[in-house]
């Protein structure tokens, strides 16, 4: 009996280890939840940054325009190239891989952590970024430095278009930006007109991630692209751009078509068929699981409108059987 009591009263360092481990994970989870819930705060912060930038030297003309630009987002790099402003680009992020000429430019690492030293090394006049890449804390930290930070936000198609216009002002290519914006707006208007004449809006779902299951909701530009192309986003009622779902919810909705962002080489249908319960989905049974190049939908720039055309092409194929 004495022995047992002694054994039970051994001071145990494990308890503190395990306690701190679990509290740590709970903290991380709360952070994730917090990020999801605080989207509006982040966009408020970025909106403020944007306004400050607009009010500063960014909108100035002539000599005061930035001459050394760092882009930390692939879509911004693509917009700069589309406007012919690449002469002012001094560095890009490791994710910027389009167009091919971008490979000649030095890289500033943004993942897993932003390399502030490299940024300082390139002596930029301005850093262009998006509010999805950095937390509001990182943005605040970068803002506290001497280099102006310009943060864009892309929650809708009009925001993509205005983003192109603003980058045009920064790189000194206002006219080209206006032309590009007009041509893209024309594409949008054409699709709007076509949509009005449609009678069938097949139910579609865009899966962003399998584990956990992340699906495109009704709160972002990707939803708008899908709907413009003549699909009906089955999760349009969800307010978030992306949300976590369950396979049960997916089965309940049972969409006609599933989109999955993936490259040419991967066989999406085969991937789905490997999961026993995914086989029960109508879209899998009828082999209507389509892959869409991730770069065409995840990069809110000119190529997103190619994504729109891809969505429309799949719709035509679907209707034609």
């Amino acid at each position: 009996m004495q022995k047992k009591t002694d054994f039970l009263r051994i001071p145990n360092p494990l308890c503190f280890l395990r306690l701190s481990w679990n509290l740590g994970w709970i903290g991380i989870f709360c952070f994730f939840i917090g990020c999801e819930g605080n989207t509006s705060h982040t966009s408020e912060a970025s909106e403020q940054t944007k306004n400050e930038a607009r009010g500063g030297k960014l909108v100035a003309e002539g000599d005061s325009l930035p001459k050394r630009i760092i882009s930390t987002a692939p879509n911004i790099t693509e917009i700069i190239f589309a406007l012919g402003g690449e002469a002012k680009l001094v560095a890009r992020s490791q994710a910027c891989d389009f167009p091919m000429e971008v490979e000649q430019f030095p890289i500033v690492k943004t993942y897993p952590e932003l390399d502030l030293e490299q940024i300082a090394f390139h002596k930029p006049d301005i850093i262009l970024t998006t509010d999805e890449l950095f937390s509001s804390e990182q943005i605040a930290r970068m803002k506290s430095g001497e280099i102006p930070l310009y943060v864009q936000s892309y929650k809708s198609i009009p925001q993509i278009l205005s983003g192109i216009k603003e980058i045009g002002e920064i790189v000194g290519e206002k006219v080209r930006a206006a032309n590009l914006m007009d041509s893209l707006q024309q594409v949008v208007d054409e699709f709007k007109n076509v949509r009005k004449g449609l009678t069938i809006y097949p139910k579609s779902v865009l899966i962003v991630g399998e584990d956990p299951l992340i699906i495109v909701g009704g709160g972002g530009y990707i939803h708008e692209l899908m709907e413009l192309a003549g699909w009906s986003n089955a999760f349009r009622d969800k307010e978030l751009a992306y949300f976590q779902s369950t396979i049960e919810e997916l089965q309940w909705i049972n969409p006609d078509v599933i989109f999955f962002p993936a490259g040419e080489e991967s066989d999406i249908l085969e991937r789905f068929e490997q999961f026993p319960l995914a086989k029960k989905l109508k879209a899998v049974q009828t082999q209507k699981v389509f892959k869409i190049p991730p770069d065409l939908i995840y990069r809110p720039g000119p190529r997103a409108f190619q994504g729109l055309k891809e969505f429309a092409k799949y719709r035509r194929d679907f209707i034609d059987g």
Binding site: I26, T246, E249, P276
Partner: protein, 339 residues
Amino acid sequence: MVKRNQGGLWKLAIVLMGVFAIVLSLKTGSFPIPLSEIWQGLLGQSIEHRDILFAYRMPRVLVALASGAVLSLSGFYMQVLIRNPLADPYIMGVTAGAGLGVNLLILGIISVPFVSIFTRPLFAGIGALGSLLLILALGFRTLLYDTYKLLIAGIAVSSICTALIGLLIYLFADSDQLRSIVFWTFGNLNSIQIWGWDAVYIGIAMWAISLGFGLRYGLHLDVMATGELQAGQLGMNIIRMKFFLLLVSTLSVGALVAFTGPIGFVGMMIPHISRGILGPKHHQNLFWGSLTGAVFLTLCDAVSRIIYHPTGIPIGIVTALVGIPFFLYLLFSDSKFLS
């Protein structure tokens, strides 16, 4: 006599709570199914809900039951093995080893030509077994004779595996993989809805193996709990017994962790509750303790889905939130569960 009555009441309560937990879990999901239709659905009379119940909700309930049971059983085994009331199935680095295996798969560092139901448990099992073999390779006899060295070796191997996981994530993970890994690390039953009944078969098999071992060697565990010296004097082969305890715990928990991720505190908490009510004998404890763990985890899963509809709060977080107060209670009080 009082003890016996307490035990009887407890067993009745567990059965009733089990029925309640299963019904609540079947009722809760992406959309509610009325109570009246659950029974009809299970009997196949309501075609509308039959598929949802059988394809999605039933597998989740059964894997939750099996996971809770296996974790509790492994908790019993580890507490006897390490002779420490705060031991749980993860103490010997099972989770970290399994985590390393799963991360190698998620990050694509070891590529497999095809994905099947067995891929993830296989990698998790190899990882868990690998960590166990590493511990034993450090000094088989010394470690199995010396409980404290065994414990320290377990913590060391666990730390090495955790550091390797961190390194792999830092070097190779993209944002999608990072998301998968983080959600797996929280402990999550959502992926069961992808694997369906195949995961149930593995879960039930692990429960049967673990419980079967416990019922077969229940008396040996009683003797071991009184002290290794006494057990040795009674002619028990302590080394062999310790090895089997490690092997059964590692394999059963490793296989389930692959699906559910690490779920903390069930394995530490349930043995104390069970022993506090049913007494020290392992035969009774292992059976009813595993049922208690099964019911507890199923209830936690249902409640988490009610609170955060429809995906639920990751189950590891729910059990930790329930477990930490209990853990602190054990730490700072002379609880009767420890006597």
